[in-house]
Amino acid sequence: MSSEIAPESAPEHPNAGDTAAVQPLAAGASAEHPLSAGASTEHPLDGAYVALARPRAGWAFLGSEIAVLFRRRRTWVMLIALAAIPVLIAVAVRISSAGSTPGRGPAFLGQITNNGLFVGLVALIICIPLFLPLTIGVVAGDTIAGEASSSTLRYLLVAPVGRARLLLVKFVAAAAFCVAATLVIIVAGALIGAALFPIGSVTLLSGDTVSLGEAGVRALLIAAYVTLSLLGLTAIGMFISTLTDIPVGAMAATVVVSIISQVLDSLPQLDWLHPWLFTHYWLDFADLLRQPIDWSSFGSNALLQLAYVAVFGALAFGRFSTKDILS
């Protein structure tokens, strides 16, 4: 231990001494006791454990959190399910020889036979109201409640991770899942679209035609828009997750909140409320398909989502920082 964090080490403790920055963990101390069975001499440490005087930035824990999230089978199943949706759409359009009736089905559905790039876009539109909130609900609802239910929360806090830092890392990891979920739909859509349909330059809503490369950039912009759209819900889910030790409850509640918000958004009587609903701009990314790009909906959406992140992030911290961890 360094002198800064162990100022009062009493002299009778040889290893915890105030100047003993280098402590032999393996070679010295544990050699004689039976649990280590004499193997400690081969150990790479060679008495080189150095406690740090000042805390590190702690990127390792963020890395660990993201790795744990994406190593879970559950995460993979959700991503594969999301990838299956564009595949389903493309195959359905391909095998139905009748072609599509204009005005029926989701927007851009009719364009798929002309240009396979639209598969991803159609899939996103289908996924946004339910499938994406479902997966975000699972990830965000699990953040704190999941750690509580597996008893790992108390060990993380005692490590110590710091409660504010844990929330921040959890939010960033959940946001990384939002990115992955959106990209999976777009990329899977582009791949299956290219496989089953002709692809080429894209005619935008404004009538301009852009090259394949430019169309790819627009697709990524849309992915960024949808990811941003999901951050408000992620923050809500994380807040709900701090209220309970039962992850399934937090997950379900998060999904229900997103559905309620969409229902409210569809009631014309609540017009005044609509701009304040986090789902309000969810489908308004068509402006990114104009030339020049109209950024107004992107900006309003970003502002609204940031406000939700700030409010529910603060609520989550307020709740979590004073919570007694009894799980």
Binding site: E8, F61, L153, R154, L156, V158, P160, V161, D324
Partner: protein, 323 residues
């Protein structure tokens, strides 16, 4: 170092109280855990041990009272105290889908005071120390209860600590594992670490502890060095003799109160006569008085109170959990 009395204590609480609604889990306890000690924290199930530990580790906040750990007040200095504390709290908690090694690496990465360049080596050393090297790569869901318990102890040993808190460390361990935990605690003490062990199993505590405290229904009913605690208990003399009636007479003359014997002697077979004895009366006085009175003393011992006697005396017999 000429620090005050406070610095000599690894854990110190004054009037620590924790209530949940109307129920008082911990009722104004004054803990004093000396540095370098192995401190046994005893009490029946539900007596407030784990709640106290949660407050000491900053997982729960005290309703009232002062807490300081390693000389630093809590919860104010929690962030600088916890890196120096290793803990096993109410059973291990791990991600079942990760290996034991991956679990420890993750928990270690949460501590910002340790170097990530030594992480792999430290995790392997900790696994080795609890005898889990062979199962390091196995997923935790395939671990037995005892292996999980060992992994939990390994987590407390990831870096050298000034204080290690072990809540019921031998739960789920076989006798061999229990012995290993005892050896481990001894080796930790040799390194100068203060070990705070909570348990309801007295035998294991009695073997390794230098100090102990006893909880009952949220109250601290006894605390001190093991010798002090034993002294507080009642010692008794036991005389093995065929002349039980004569022996009892001698004991009464010395001011002792012989207990009702299990069996009466017939003048040939040996029976045991016993009586509580205080420190005022030297045992040799008793023996010489017995011999002078013609009692055939075939065995004599002064039996010190065991911790178990004291524990039962303090917390009551039986399985009733005090509300």
């Amino acid at each position: 170092m000429t620090a005050g009395a406070g610095a000599e204590l690894a854990i110190e609480t004054h009037g620590l109280t924790k209530t949940f609604g109307k129920q008082t889990a911990v009722n104004g306890i004054d803990l004093a855990v000396p540095r370098g000690s192995v401190f046994g924290f005893l009490g029946p199930n539900g007596s407030g041990k784990t709640t106290t530990i949660r407050v000491l580790l900053g997982l729960a906040s005290a309703t009232s009272g002062e807490v300081s750990v390693l000389g630093q007040p809590l919860p104010g200095r929690l962030a600088s105290v916890l890196p120096r504390v290793g803990a096993l709290i109410e059973g291990p908690g791990f991600y079942p889908f990760l290996s034991g090694q991956a679990n420890l690496r993750r928990l270690d990465s949460a501590d910002r005071y340790v170097s990530s360049s030594t992480r792999h080596a430290r995790v392997d050393a900790a696994l080795e120390r609890v005898g889990l090297s062979h199962a390091a790569g196995k997923k935790v869901k395939a671990y037995s209860l005892g292996m999980k318990q060992r992994l939990g102890i390994a987590n407390a040993l990831l870096t050298p600590r000034d204080l290690i808190v072990l809540d019921e460390p031998t739960n789920g361990l076989d006798p061999q594992g229990t012995r290993e935990v005892r050896n481990l605690v001894r080796s930790l003490t040799a390194e100068g670490t203060t070990v705070f062990v909570s348990s309801h199993l007295l035998a294991e505590i009695e073997q390794i502890c230098t100090h102990a405290a006893v909880m009952r229904a949220g109250n601290l009913v006894a605390q001190g060095s093991l010798d002090d605690l034993r002294r507080a208990g009642q010692a008794r003399v036991r005389v093995l003799t065929p002349d039980d009636l004569a022996a009892e007479q001698v004991l009464r003359r010395l001011g002792l109160v012989p207990e009702h014997p299990d069996a009466r002697g017939d003048g040939h077979a040996d029976v045991t006569v016993s009586a509580p004895i205080t420190d005022d009366l030297a045992p040799d006085t008793v023996v010489s008085a017995l011999v002078a009175a013609g009692v055939r003393v075939r065995g004599f011992e002064v039996e010190r109170a065991t911790l178990e006697d004291l524990f039962v005396a303090l917390t009551g017999e039986g399985f009733d959990v005090v509300q």
